[in-house]
Amino acid sequence: MQSKLKRVDFIFSSNEESKKVLLKTFRKTREEILDELITSRLKGRGGAGFSTGMKWKFAKSEVADQKYIICNADEGEPGTFKDRKILDKALFKVLGGMAIAGKVVGANKGFIYLRGEYKFLVPQLKEGISDFHKLLKNELDFDFNIEIFLGSGSYICGEETALIESMEGKRGEPRNKPPFPTQYGYLGKPTVVNNVETLALVMMVCQVEAENFKKLGIHDSTGSKLFSISGDTPKSGIYELEFGMSLIDFVEEFGDGDTKSVQVGGASGFCVPRKKFETTTIGYKEDLDGDSLPTGGSMMLFNSSRSMYNVLHNYLEFFTNESCGQCTPCRIGCQQLLKGIKAIKRGDKSEEYLKQLLELTDTMKLTSKCGLGQSVANSFSSIVENFREEMIY
């Protein structure tokens, strides 16, 4: 059967072409590049989905003696491994995206915040960066210096303000927003933090131009997306697909024939049960009808042999350990959810208590300081509501 999914082959395409794109882009003005990017409606690929062009625009409009571009390579969402491969195979595109960001925003300093678990990549990254510096100097006469900052084992540092705190030598505790990093970022200076894939896609926009970029995907979910596919699938790996696919088409292609649910967006994403595959689209919520799910690209498939209680338990242990602990709803809420589902499973708490816990996830969503605490509700409620029996018996 013909696959209904549209494969895209940009990110891992030839880096030679990318070099030409970079040289071409640097001949444009900052404003032209920014316009192109805003027109493309490229959104951040880390999961939050903020308009990349707008982010750059905010940082560009700030007046400061120093600005920074940070590539967020703290890929820690369970089930996500695309950024590692991009850095491994398509580093040039990422560095190109950073340099373009530097030009547009007016920054001459960039960092790659690389998660500690990917330390083995450092030697090759250093080599790539060194070559890239030469290119910038010799062929573009552009003063832009990129350094690697190595993380030390903390999921929350993928949150952009926690990442900045971490770079400042502190505990990775997310900041209050506002002010946003584009106003007050690393060392108090305007800072753009973009995901690895986003920066690579900037090169795609520059290569194919906004109008063509927009032809991929649907509505505001434009372009292609890398998916990290794992779990009960014969085809686990990384795939670049057009944005806006239907989950049923996805499962047809990647499922093992017995797919019970798909976790879209990792532990902080949503669990979609079989009965909703048909009505679920992968893309940003505000511009799609029906169930639509944004994602950083993690797709974990579970077949009917899996206990969804175990899955949820695993996520909650993860959140309980990886919460920074500073704000009440996230620190205590995660512990209560974990302790709560255990108590229900053991029979120490009645089934009714699930309702209390679901209400708690509402509070966590409404009041947590950052995306971690806010998104625990996603997996919790989607698993508990769709697999209620598994939670109790």
Partner: protein, 155 residues
């Protein structure tokens, strides 16, 4: 190298501002596998921040150990996909081979066995890190070979 000399060297290399703290801590872990209280005090002195601040930062990050660890730190991914693909067997194999439990260090200070969150190799699980090295698609057989290699590798 004596710890004070090491920290001095690292401070010279990275700088003495707060934003240089984490590279310095990583440098100590690289050499010593953990950051002792003596090291933390010395880092505080070099950066002129309080020792409590150094400690607070260390304890936030999983890789900045403040307790002694073995020469080879094994971190087994415990995230859901690795769990589904046989994490439990990986851990029991390691526990049997090393005769320690998760969280412990062997008597000869050669191996520490820890759990960790997603290592970013879900398509090739189960996986583990040994120091900075990744090992994927683990089987008991593979694990025995890997451990044998590290046991032999005296230096």
């Amino acid at each position: 190298m004596e710890i004070k000399a090491l920290i001095f060297k690292l401070a010279e290399k990275y700088g003495r501002k707060r934003e240089n703290l984490i590279p310095i801590l990583q440098g100590v872990v690289q050499e010593e596998r953990y950051i002792s209280d003596e090291a933390m005090v010395e880092i505080a002195r070099q950066l002129d921040i309080s020792a409590a601040q150094v400690y607070g930062t260390c304890t936030f990050y999983s890789f900045l150990n403040t307790k002694p660890k073995g020469k080879y730190i094994i971190r087994v991914c415990e995230t859901i996909v690795c769990d589904m693909r046989g994490k439990k067997e990986v851990i029991s194999t390691l526990e049997d081979l090393l005769k320690i439990k998760i969280g412990e260090t062997t008597h000869n200070k050669r191996f520490s066995l820890l759990k960790t969150e997603c290592l970013g190799w879900c398509h090739k699980g189960p996986v583990m890190l040994v120091n900075d090295e990744v090992y994927t698609e683990l089987t008991p057989e593979k694990i025995r070979n890997i451990i044998a290699k590290y046991k032999e590798n005296i230096n």
